[in-house]
Structures are given as structure tokens and as C-alpha cells.
Amino acid sequence: MENPLSLWHFYLRNKRKVIPVIGILALAILGVVVTDSLLASARETAYATYGSYQKLILVAPRATRDQDLSNPLQTSLSHLRDVQTQLDTLDGPGGISSYYNAVVALPAQVRAQLPLVQQLQIDAGNARYYAARLRGDLVPLADLIVRVQRLQAEQAAFTQLEQKLAQNPTDPTPLLAYIQQHQTVLRSVLPDTAQIGRLQAAATSASADAGGLQRSLTNMGRDTAALNNAGAAISNLPVPPSPANAIDQFKQALDGLTSSLGSFEAPQPGLDQLQAASARIAGAAFVRRDAYSNLDINLLAGNAQFDLYGVDQSGMQRLLNLYGDRLVAGRLPKANVNEIAISEEVARARNVGVGGRVGNNIDELDRLPDAFTVTGILQGPTRIGVIPLEYMTQHYLFERRYQGLVVVPQAGQEQQVHDQMVRLIGNQPFRLFDWAYIKAKIDSLIANLDTINRFLIILVTIVLSLVVGLLNNLFFRQRMNEFGLLAAVGYSRWALIMRVAWESLGVTLAAWGLGVGLGIAVLTWFNHIFIIPHGLLMNVFDWNLLITHTLPIPLMVFVFGMGTVAWQLLRLDPISIIERRD
């Protein structure tokens, strides 16, 4: 015969009351397990996404004033308008064409007597030719200047965005606003090398034609003066007014613009020296030029930019060796082709395989321009992506201008190399990205979610403690006769308190075990249907999380529920219960 006051007996006979309480608590614990695990998954995936920084330092250029084309562009454009107006006048009625026609129409007798007239005809023809060419140059040149001006406006907005994000890295609002307002414009005006080349060619051609026109008009003046000196005045043929000043200023502006364009196209000044000096650092395993770019991927807690390293062929292999990653499908990208190799998790996140395509044409949040074909899938402990340095710098102005360096410290030399790099950079317009910086940024972003999550857990714990405590008290009142009798027949109050404590502890522990078990089941299922296919990370059996994050709920519920009941049991008077006549 088992003890009728045993815990098992109690649970078995009161299952209709005990099971709902266990259910409520277990569901709450399940909720905590799931939300905490998703949050941990977001953090772990973010760490893994930027895990490559654990072994390397990225040196990236800062924006500088020498990239500011706005003044040369605006000056060229305003002079271009002046020249356009004056060319219209020069080519209009009584202009250069009329003058040329009048010279051609001079009687053959006059022309034969005066060879100078022949020269004037040639110079007037040249002037008319250059004026027509220049007019033809100005239309596309104006268009190109306007397009590049728009690019400059985007750069200004980008710099402003960078400053805002630097001031408050946790606030994504400026980034979202920027992307929403500028993505279409960015895509339409971001010039490649050819476009800048066209602007340069147009500026050079316009400058040359302006020079030719200038020379021809000067020669015409000289020819007219020579004819007058020879006594053959052709006063009925007035030389059209020369726009010499306007053309001079225009030429000057175009020369300034050409010089700025040259600077704009080149990598950051000082990059070569910095690369050479970095390679001499004792603890640096290797240093490579990097035309880095990004792919947009989802991290559960929001989108993130997965870093791609634009290195040369040997650099790609060295990066793979550094991280212990290997090719499991396809091959590494070729030097002069728009190809990319990425880790399998990133490929899953982007739902691509070998032959698939990624890039700004596919997903407008990708910084990687156009569309790149995936040629290789990588597998290993660290997620990385590689693209060819040669292709990036030969085809994309932005990537050529914003080349950086990949510096890989030897194991254990990370801090020393970092310090040396800081010293080498000094006041130069470069900045460093390393694991400490990246991790701090991730933690800062996740910290807000952590705070919200902690608040929710505390709220759930308090509400549950109150609800279960209340249920416990109601149940206790229903059992008042039982406790009154037991006290009367000789059970001590302490024994009664211990009895209720064990009952409550059993319920809360059962709920805890059930909640954690359900949590593991739900997470395992979710891991297989969502987390793994999307290239995310989740540790289903994170015991630290499963135990420490969920334990406060049963503990608080137990302490609160037990506390109120124990208080009543301590004040229990069996006689008042015995004498109750209800």
C-alpha cells in the first residue's frame, strides 16, 4: 500500500488541476526557448557572416575632397552654356558661314590678284568646320557632365549617410531612407570606366575643337588685317565677332575637369606605399590588394552585407588556405571574368548554386555591380566569398577607386599587426576593420533585441508568477480542510509547508522539463525547415541558453506561489478550521 500522501498520489489524483498549470508554464518556457534561440541564432549567424574578420584586417579608403568633381563639373557646364550661346551667334545670320560664303563669292579677278584672299577663305572654312564640330561636341558633353553631377550628389548623400551611421550605428533609419531614395538613381548613374572615359574623351575633343576654332578665328583676323594693309579693303565683308574669351575660359575649365577625372579614376593616393609598408610588418602573413564588395543576405534579425574579397588568383587560394575552407563544387573565379565563389551557407541564403547569378542586377541591395556568375561553392569553418580583383578594377570605376588592402596577421600577432597598421595609416584617408570592431558593431545591433527580449522574459515571468501564484492559492483554499486536519492530527506546519513545496516544485520542474523538451523539438523542426536551408546558424542544444534563460520562470513561479501558501500555512490554526461549520 503506497503512501496516500505521496507526491505521485497527489499528482495522479489531481491531474485535472495540475496538467493545465504545467501546460501554461511549459508553453511560456517554450516561448522563451524559441525567442532566445532565434536571437542567439541571429547573433551566431551574424558572427559567422563576418567570421572572416577573425583572421584578417581590412584596410578601406575614406572619402576625400580630391574625389569631389562638383566644382570642375559645374564650371565646365556654365562655360559650356556661354560658348554654346556665342557659337549660335557665330553660326547665325551674318556669322561665320555668311562670311565664308562672301569670301568664296568674291570675283575670280580679285582672288587671282590677291593670294591673301585665298588664305582667308581657308581660315574661314576651318573656323566654320571647328565651330560645327564644337557645337556637335557640346551636346553629349553637357549630358555627360549632368550625369556625373548626379553621381556627385549621390556621393554627397552617401558621405552624409556614413556620418550619420558613424554617429549612431544602431539606428538603421538613415540607411533605409538612403536606400529607398537613392537606389534607382544610383543604379542609373553609377558610371563605369567606359562612361568616365567617354566624358574624358568628350572633354578632350571639345577642348581640341575649341582650340581649332580659336586658331581659325585668329587667323581670319590676321588675314583681314593683311588684306587691309595691301590696300584691298573688303569693308563690305565684316569679320564676325570672335568669342575668344568665352572659349579660353571654357578650355581652361575643361582642362581642370580632365585633371579631376584622372584623379577620380585612380585608387586612393598612398595605397601603393601603404601596401608596401604593410607587407614589411613582421607579424603580417600576407598583404593583398582588395577590390571588396558585398552581397545582401538575411540574418533573421534583418539584412546584412556579406563581405566579398576582390583579390588576385593567388590571393583567393591563400584566403581559402587561411580559413581551412575548400572548394566543394565548381572552381575559383577567373581573373578577367565576372565570376564569384561563395561559401555554401551564403549560396543557400541566396538560393544559388554553381551557374547561379548574384549582383546588383539580381538583388538591388547587393553592392556587387551588374551580375556575377557563381563558379564555385566553398565549404569550411569560415564563410567567405571571393571575386577577381582584375575584373573589378578594370570594369568598375567605383571598385577601382575604392580599392583597399587585406592584411592577414600571423596567429597571435593580430594586435601587434593592428597597432602597426594604425601607426602606418596615421592621418592618411584609410580606416581599419577588424574582428574587435565588427563584433562590437554586431553586439551593439543585437543589444537592442536582447534588451527587448529580456524585458519580455521578465514580463512573462512576473505575469506567470502572479497567475500561477493565484491558482496555487485558490487550490490551497480548496484544500484548507485537508491541511487543517493534518495539522490537528499532529503534522507540523513545517511538514505541511514541505509537502506543498514538493508539490509545487514537482509541477514547476515538470513544466520546465516539458517546456525545454518542446522547445528542443520545435527548434529542431524549425532548424531543418528554415534555418539550414537559408544558410543561418542555430545551436539547438545550447544548454546554457536552455537552462539558464528558462530557469527564472519556474523558480519565480515556485518562490512566489510557495511564498504566499507558506505564509498562510504558518498562520494556520487547525481549531478554527475544525470549528468551521460550513
Binding site: 503506497e2 496516500p4 497527489f10 487543517g484 486536519l485
Partner: protein, 217 residues
């Protein structure tokens, strides 16, 4: 075996003092059946609480088997009630989620097969051999009180205290319950002290003590 000497139990309310028990002395010999009768409020239940150690007196002393209550600690008194006394109250105070047999076992000090067999024997004796597995809400009021009587006897106490055990029962059922208590005494298992306001229930008692205004007549 159980002696009370000059017991006084006062209830204070502000400046007034009510003497629930006023200088009562009595002795309960082993194997005796004592009846305590008196009108409502006469102090008979209070006297029973004092005798069983459920309350401590304002003055006076109770001695059980040579041990004075006044020299015993609260746990000591609890242990005494648990091991040496049995209780039957006006209400049955059965635990709802336990069967009749399990309710009887609640009173057991040692829970083993012998005790369980004795509990079953007790239920047979009180006429509930076919209702041992029934829950209290499946039994009549008289049956519930009989289970309560069995519970009070299962650990073979030296004294069974019964406080108005028949108050909520009809006449014949009340007599049955009293008979069970008397039988316990007659089998030489222990003494029985029954508190009641109905003298008809005490026909088999060795002694009937009358209480009025807190004093024994």
C-alpha cells in the same frame, strides 16, 4: 493515564475575560469511555482541545502517561497527537482526492502492509468493506463519518477524542458511530472521550460528565 488538574482556559476580548474552561480537574483511566455533555458554549469542546493538546490552557496542567503538557514543546505535543491520540470531528475532514481506504491510511503512523490490512479490517468492521475504493463524494454522510472513525483508530491510539461526531448524522447513524467508538474501548485498544450535546448517544459510556459554563458538574 490522562489527568487534568485545575484547567482554566480564558478568552480575552478587550477588557472582558470569558472563562471557556474554569478550573476543571478530571481523570481518564485506560480503557474507559468518557462522555462529555453540555449545552452549546458550555466549554466541552474547549476542554477536549486542552486534553488532546490542541490548545494550551491559561492555567492548570494536563498529564498523559506521567508527562506534563506544560513541559512539552510544540513538536512534542504534535508527536503525541500524531502517535498516541486519534480524532473524530463533527465534520469528517476526509481528503476528497483519496479513496476511503487511503483516507484511513492518512491516520496511520507506519504505512506498511500490516497497517493497510488493519485499515481494511477497520473498514470492514464499520461496514464499508465494499466501498473501500470509493471517494468521499461517493459515500453518504454516515459512511464518511465511519471512515473518519476508522482513520482515528488505524494507528491504535491510546485515546480517541471525538468532538460532536454525531452532530451531522441522523439518530441511527449517530448510534452506529458511537457503537464503533465504544467497540474500540471494549476491545481494550484504548480510551474514548466523546463530546456531544446529545445524552442519548452516551448510553454505553463508563462515565458521563456534564459541563456548564466551563465547569464540570
Amino acid at each position: 493515564m490522562l489527568r487534568a488538574q485545575d484547567l482554566v482556559l480564558d478568552y480575552r476580548s478587550g477588557h472582558s475575560v470569558a472563562h471557556a474552561v474554569n478550573t476543571v480537574s478530571l481523570a481518564v483511566e485506560g480503557g474507559s469511555f468518557i462522555g462529555l455533555i453540555g449545552p452549546s458554549g458550555s466549554g466541552k469542546s474547549s476542554l477536549m482541545y486542552l486534553l488532546s493538546g490542541l490548545k494550551r490552557p491559561t492555567r492548570g496542567n494536563v498529564i498523559f502517561e506521567g508527562q506534563e503538557y506544560s513541559s512539552m514543546s510544540m513538536p512534542g505535543l504534535m508527536s503525541l497527537r500524531r502517535h498516541r491520540f486519534g480524532f473524530v470531528f463533527q465534520q469528517h475532514f476526509l481528503i476528497n482526492y483519496l479513496s476511503a481506504l487511503e483516507n484511513v491510511m492518512v491516520g496511520a503512523v507506519k504505512r506498511n502492509h500490516e497497517t493497510a490490512a488493519y485499515a481494511q479490517e477497520l473498514l470492514r468492521r464499520v461496514g464499508l468493506s465494499d466501498k473501500m475504493r470509493k471517494r468521499p463524494y461517493e459515500l453518504s454522510m454516515g459512511e464518511r463519518q465511519r471512515v473518519a472513525v476508522a482513520r482515528a483508530m488505524v494507528h491504535k491510539p491510546a485515546v480517541v477524542f471525538a468532538d460532536e461526531p454525531t452532530a451531522s448524522l441522523d439518530q441511527s447513524t449517530g448510534h452506529e458511530v458511537i457503537s464503533l467508538l465504544a467497540e474500540y474501548r471494549s476491545q481494550g485498544s484504548g480510551s474514548v472521550v466523546v463530546v456531544t450535546h446529545d445524552p442519548n448517544m452516551l448510553t454505553g459510556a463508563d462515565r458521563v460528565l456534564q459541563m456548564r459554563d466551563g465547569q464540570l458538574n
